[in-house]
Symmetry: C2
Subunit: 586 residues, 2 copies
């Protein structure tokens, strides 16, 4: 049996649980796009390629794989920042590039979308540092194996890969033989060292006197979240997360503490006295470790990545850590665990605010976030953009079975809006039973969860047009625009009163009307301004408005895109690092 | 005398005629931005970095230099597609990147905006193929000379350069000694071969029997436009342009013909019989040569770039061709030029349509563009985005002293909107006498010129938010949105009825209201929809509306951003290549 090469690629993606495929058409990928729908994929045409890359990333972090299709040169370079972000923060994104035909390449013909020098390798080379594997398809005999190897690397490292397909190869038949065997990360035979690693871990776990668990963000990428939560429940050991690891452990558990910042007693006291730290998915950038203060002591730490387990002295490589954790859980003798965790149980816990926020409410960063905490529910996917929004929700205890996506290291503002598009599509697919259980990283038991974005005005402006794709896909999304007149996070860092930290004022709540002209054009033109503005939008300028927002059932439970603009002062920031930085400029 | 390093750089840019500096703040460039205003530059904060790069490119193609400032990693990668386009189509753009401090780099600290691997050279390396020079500033002793060399390369090749400045070096004092000598491309001593080259040219020119002049787009980049027009007037030889070269020669001259496409008699007959082609700024991509048909015969062609003059047999390098042309013009003996150009004078000319378009007007591609020709005036800068808009204006004879910017080779849709922002700023500065005459490539004698953009709906969606910067800068821009329900140019190429060529329908004319909330917020909220929509906008759905558009004085002569949405059919395209492609799909 044979199938067109493009069909082979898209079928593989479909087998891995992919349903939505992002991108922008261009004349070197049009024939490729003809194969999208026949393979059972949904084409999600984005407004531009950077947004497509961000959306694929947001989707990938939930479904365990995302993909975008761009055209050669102009398309792929527009998306490259998104691919770099996916590399840095481990999102398994497949960048598929439609390239000029082989004959054109070989003749070094100077066609459009090249640099004009006859060289066709520039753009793939620009991707070398930000992808873990590349395939330049040139031969239908070898293409299926190339595709499989590259996709496997994408899944294994949870990082981007790059596949380029010449336009003339799209329809060439290839063998379907390999499609009979689904791609998997399971090893053919258990690793010889599995036994050794489990013994190594059990020995340390059973001997520990003051242990703890530390969960960082790459745990999500390596799909260890389920096993980690089982371990947290089984051991009842105290658990902390990094900033980026927040929400990966059920925060309603009594042994789940807050984000560890490496500064505040009594948490720091317990960390310093600990004789065993099981550390999952470590990712120690300045922004994810409170400037390197929140890194557990290497002398007592066992680090778990997706494929390795190690201490300062010894590392076991090429493991399937997910499988190791299952074996560990099965072998764990809870009767041998330390029974008294005096220090831990005495630790103060940040308690969740009551469901009824204290009145009178003021519209400040200080009161906004505890109030918003009462808005969240099990099943929700919450996205907080780099800026004050990310800081705001960090101190809030989240309901069970929620997933928070916040910035870790790449911190490219504008990312979260298209990522929300991707997340909302992933969530809808999962709620409809569309997923591959081996790779999907968020499967709550409830199908009631919503997708909620908190984003600043400066960030929103970067990628705002993707609101139109949210509307076009009829997604149920709640979008909070935290409007504080510019780049407040930059004002905190430097240039508090500098004009370069201003952004243009927009009428944000016109967005749904601007980005969607569905329906009768003539009717729309005569529509009243009230109707244009009130379409699922809410303007929040003071405490009373905030209270009304919390009681607004349509905002919380309605369909489609709902949007609230929340006005905050220019120099108001969540208490902590940002307010300290701001004070330094006084 | 000493000045902070950042001040040195910005003063150099100011000396070269730069006034507007584009970009986006980020925490590794904030201290750098403190020096913008003190150096006499205007900071133009863009909505995102790709748009900043496009705007700098549009500005550079007119003023002869443009610059943007981005932050390390996330910022520069978002802009990289714009830099690649500037490289391909020779726009002299300075990409300035604010980088983490030297100590951070040297310690390989894993900070945000890195890939998390301690490596600080990735992003500069990603720019190697698309810049002609780079400077990684590390030492205040050598930094001024590095800056000067890099800027000179930018001007010489009319291509992007890359300068990275560690955050800790911004305020370090450097010597101002070099600033006393303005940067120039003039050679210290005339090249020894100048004489030889002028003789070489005169010999051929005086001997020619059936000569012609062919003007391609890189003439603009090398600032040869003034001298070429003098040559066209002095010789009275017939002159054609490439697609990209259109508008570089005064199209009202009787010896100025249309775009040469290499196909149509009698033009092709004359080309084939020619014994001398003076070819300026050749740029032979498929899209700029009617698929390589419009390339003059190498056997009879003398090619002029910015720094070389050559034939198939011999090339003179390292010249200042601008100076060579001046010497040539002075030495030219017009009495020795061929007196009878029978063939040329008999050539049919595409005559401009009358100022009153034929009635009844229909709203089709066929009648739209001749009608729009009557809208144009001396001094206008006209930008036509890749897509049907670019094709539409190609067959129109332009008024004198106009400049058309259309796609050549890079063809990144979305480019033209931010490029229009850059062009409008450049135009305003030139009209106010703000320019460096050595580098500015468009200086009409009238100060009445306008900036006019024709762009499709699909392209507009890519970078739409930059409309907000046009409004914020209070620029006078006329924006025609050619709304044909998606990517019509792609429909012509492939997938006429495929959904991937659709885009979401928007209420485009709400853009000015959405992107600007200046004024009293409360008043704005209660504003009527009519007032929101009518703010300088016009909806054109049929021939009557088109006639009304042509008679609308406010659209033509008003202030601020004026915008017309012109509705065309999905599968309507300007006659020619696109309609032929469309027919192939029947």
């Amino acid at each position: 049996m044979e199938t067109p090469l493009a069909q082979y690629l898209f079928t593989r993606l479909r087998q891995l649980g992919l349903r939505s495929l992002f991108g922008v058409p261009g004349d070197y990928n049009l024939r490729l796009l003809d194969h999208v729908a026949p393979a059972g994929l949904d084409w999600v045409g984005n407004c531009n390629e950077l947004n497509a890359g961000y959306a694929a990333d947001g989707y990938a972090r939930i479904k365990g794989l995302g993909a975008l299709v761009t055209t050669f040169g102009v398309g792929e370079l527009s998306a490259i920042n998104a691919v770099a972000g996916a590399f840095t923060e481990r999102a398994p994104v497949v960048q598929i590039v439609g390239k000029p035909p082989r004959a054109t390449q070989d003749a070094r013909t100077v066609v459009h979308h090249t640099l004009g020098d006859g060289e066709y390798g520039h753009f793939a080379r620009m991707h070398t540092a930000i992808t873990v594997a590349q395939a330049s398809l040139r031969d239908p005999q070898t293409a299926p194996a190339q595709i499989d190897v590259v996709l496997q690397q994408c899944l294994l490292h949870s990082r981007p890969v790059y596949i380029e397909i010449p336009d003339d190869l799209v329809d060439v038949p290839v063998s379907t033989e390999r499609l009979k065997t689904p791609l998997t990360l399971d090893m053919d035979t258990p690793s010889q060292s599995d036994e050794e690693v489990v013994s190594f871990l059990l020995e340390r776990i059973h001997a520990a006197k003051a242990p703890l668990i530390f969960v960082d963000g790459e745990s999500r990428a390596f799909n260890l979240v389920k096993e980690i939560n089982e371990l947290v429940r089984a051991t009842q050991w105290p658990v902390w997360t990094s900033t980026w690891g927040k929400s990966l452990v059920d925060e309603t558990l009594p042994n789940c503490y807050a984000i560890y910042d490496g500064e505040c007693a009594p948490y720091k006291t317990y960390f310093d006295a600990s004789d065993l730290v099981l550390c999952f998915g470590p990712h120690y950038s300045n922004t994810n470790s409170n400037f390197f203060q929140a890194i557990p002591s290497p002398a007592v730490t066992v680090n778990f990545t997706g494929t390795s387990v190690g201490t300062a002295k010894k590392t076991f490589y090429n493991l399937r850590v997910k499988a190791i954790l299952s074996r560990l859980l099965a072998a764990l003798d809870t009767s041998r665990l330390p029974v008294s965790l005096v220090v831990a149980t005495e630790l103060a816990r940040v308690e969740q605010e009551g469901k009824e926020p204290t009145l009178p409410l003021q519209l400040t960063q200080k009161s906004l976030w505890p109030a918003m905490a009462t808005f969240l529910r099990p099943g929700d996917i919450i996205l907080t953009e780099t800026g004050t929004s990310a800081y705001g929700l960090r101190s809030i205890r989240l309901p069970e079975q929620t997933r928070l996506f916040g910035p870790a290291t790449w911190l490219s503002i504008g990312y979260m809006l298209p990522a929300t598009l991707g997340a909302a599509l992933a969530q809808r697919e999962i709620q409809q039973g569309e997923h591959n259980a081996d790779f999907t990283t968020f499967m709550p038991s409830t199908a009631e969860g919503r997708t909620i974005l908190f984003i600043g005005d400066g960030s929103l402006q970067m990628t705002v047009q993707e609101i139109s794709t949210m509307l076009r896909e009829r997604l149920d999304i709640i979008l909070f625009v935290v409007n504080n007149d510019g780049y407040t996070i930059e004002r905190c860092i430097h240039g508090k009163n500098q004009a370069y930290n201003d952004v243009a004022p927009w009428r944000y709540l016109l967005a749904p009307a601007f980005f969607s002209a569905y329906g009768n054009e003539e009717t729309d033109v005569s529509e009243s301004s009230e109707s244009l503005r009130s379409r699922n939008t809410l303007y929040v300028k003071d405490g009373d408005d905030l209270r009304a927002l919390l009681q607004n059932e349509h905002l919380a439970d309605g369909k489609g895109l709902r949007m609230a603009e929340v006005r905050l002062a220019r120099e108001d920031a969540p208490e902590g690092a940002l307010t300290r930085l701001l004070a330094l400029q006084e």
